[in-house]
């Protein structure tokens, strides 16, 4: 923006210069000519000339195909209802994006980690987390990701991402996390 305004100012200056020159060209009838140097064109009012702003440089977002790309631009976690393991409607766009990303980067291997909230007993939650991991795995496979690229594990209730004790925390902890194991840039 600033840069463009500046160049407009320069353009104006140039036009003023041309106008001054043409005015000088169509002056009065010939007179005894005493040749004098043409007066310099009227100087325009001084305009401040700030130095051009600095150009900052940074990476252009995560490297495509990297783990960071997957986590930031796709999303690595989907959530489940209490005691449920079917993929929720609101998780499907994210899993669609996961499968598209995995199809684009076919060398990537992932592990789906099923997690549960603390409102269940340890062994049952291990089994429930395995169901969640496999629901996500099945979804990705049905969307074109080769099954042999996907491992699954359940952490049961052993690895909560929110250590609070209330519905908000429990909701966050009922999830399936897609971890990239290898093959990312």
């Amino acid at each position: 923006m600033v840069r463009r305004k500046n160049s407009r100012t320069l353009l104006k200056l140039a036009l003023v210069g041309v106008a001054a020159a043409s005015m000088a060209a169509c002056a009065k009838k010939p007179m005894p000519v005493t040749q004098q140097p043409a007066p310099p064109p009227a100087a325009p009012p001084p305009t401040p000339q700030p130095p051009p702003p600095a150009v900052t440089q940074q990476p252009t977002g995560p490297l495509p195909g990297s783990t960071q790309d997957f986590v930031v631009n796709v999303g690595d976690r989907v959530y489940f209802d209490t005691d449920q393991y079917t993929v929720r409607d609101d998780a499907m766009p994210l899993l669609d994006a996961q499968s598209a990303w995995l199809r684009r980067y076919p060398g990537v291997q992932v592990r789906i980690e099923g997690n549960c909230d603390e409102r269940g007993t340890r062994e049952y939650n291990l089994a429930l987390g395995a169901r969640r991991a496999n629901s996500v795995r099945d979804y990705l496979v049905s969307h074109g990701v080769s099954a042999d690229r996907i491992a699954t594990i359940s952490f049961g209730k052993e690895k909560p991402i929110d250590d609070g004790s209330g519905e908000d925390a429990w909701q966050k902890n009922r999830n399936a996390h897609t971890a990239i194991v290898s093959g990312a840039r």
Partner: protein, 439 residues
Amino acid sequence: MTQARSFPQRLIALVFTALCALTALALAPPARAEIEVNVNRGDVQPLPIAVPAFAGGQVGADIAQVISANLQRSGLFRPLDPASFIEKDLSAAVQPRFADWKTINAQALVNGQVTVEGGKLRVDFRLWDTFQEQQLLGLQFTSSPENWRRVAHKISDAVYQRLTGEKGYFDTRIVFVAESGSRASPVKRLAIMDQDGANPSYLTSGDSIVMTPRFSSNSQEITYMSLTPEAATVYLFNLETARRESLGSFKGMVFAPRFSPDGGRVAFSVERGGNSDIFVMNLANHSSTRLTSDPAIDTSPSFSPDGTKIAFNSDRSGGPQIYVMNADGSNPRRVSYGDGRYTTPVWSPTGEFIAFTKQTGGQFHIGVMRPDGTDERILTSSYLDEGPTWAPNGRVLMFSRETPGGPPRLWSVDVTGRILQPAPYPGAGSDPAWSPLLN
């Protein structure tokens, strides 16, 4: 209870009253009609007992202290304050002055003496019925001096058995999961301690998450599971040799192991494609047999003490409930029908109960029921109670309890629900497993 009745009968009556309180609603009137059954479990009063310091110096005092603490924690005894004792400096070789003990209402007296000779510790003790003025028990234990705590536990077991008619559980150990680190990044290590909290030590390094240790019912061997991001694996671990062995590799997760009563097999869950089923492995040849093939979650198998049946957890009817099947997998039937979610069935060593974790009304409970599902009794209630384990005599359960956001702690409750208390371990712990009696 009449004054004339002898002392052990009185205590047996106490225990029997507690058991009857537990089951009175469903059982026919007990055969022992002379015992007054009162379903008010608050009526059970612990028996006043005196355990003066054993003669023989500090170790004698220490042994008496361990015995006293054991008896106190059982909830069935009330050790009297030594400051109230009239007769001092008792000798195991001389009859006590019964009148002195009756005066302070000590209904039983345990006295003894310790000698160390030739590098050996010898402990003589006697148990007296002070009102009947009779010796009930006189035993001598010999061991190495550093083993004095075990001698104290063995004396505790002898006293408990003589006075209640049931085997004791004091010469036992607890394996559990000692927890540290944050909740999101927990460090879980297998640990072991005596049942009274003494001699705690770690068995694993904490490199991987370990959980659900379980004792063999006839040896110092445990089975547990280890969880890494790559695999869930079941191990066998011999406490005496420190030898560790994987149950073998399976496709999918392996979890929820538990020994058969003879120690020759392990039942466990295998997860394949998200479906968990129960298998059993013969440890002699590592051959495994699938016992369930339902699309539901089937886990937490627990053998009946006669080995003929397996209780397990399944959500084949919707929510998790307790089922019992034959040990070959045949004839599974649901036994829990109460309101709520039932998990972690554990058959009692005596065979008379199945302990469980129940969730209802936003609370977790430890409870017991008959193996056919009748006589359900809820023993505890809190934000999160889970994972009961039985003392080898089937009288006491240990479990883990969490408060919201807090670390898990070990707790115990007796089978009547009357004696609920923190276990004698000050740190964070979960998944306790009670050993059989040591040899």
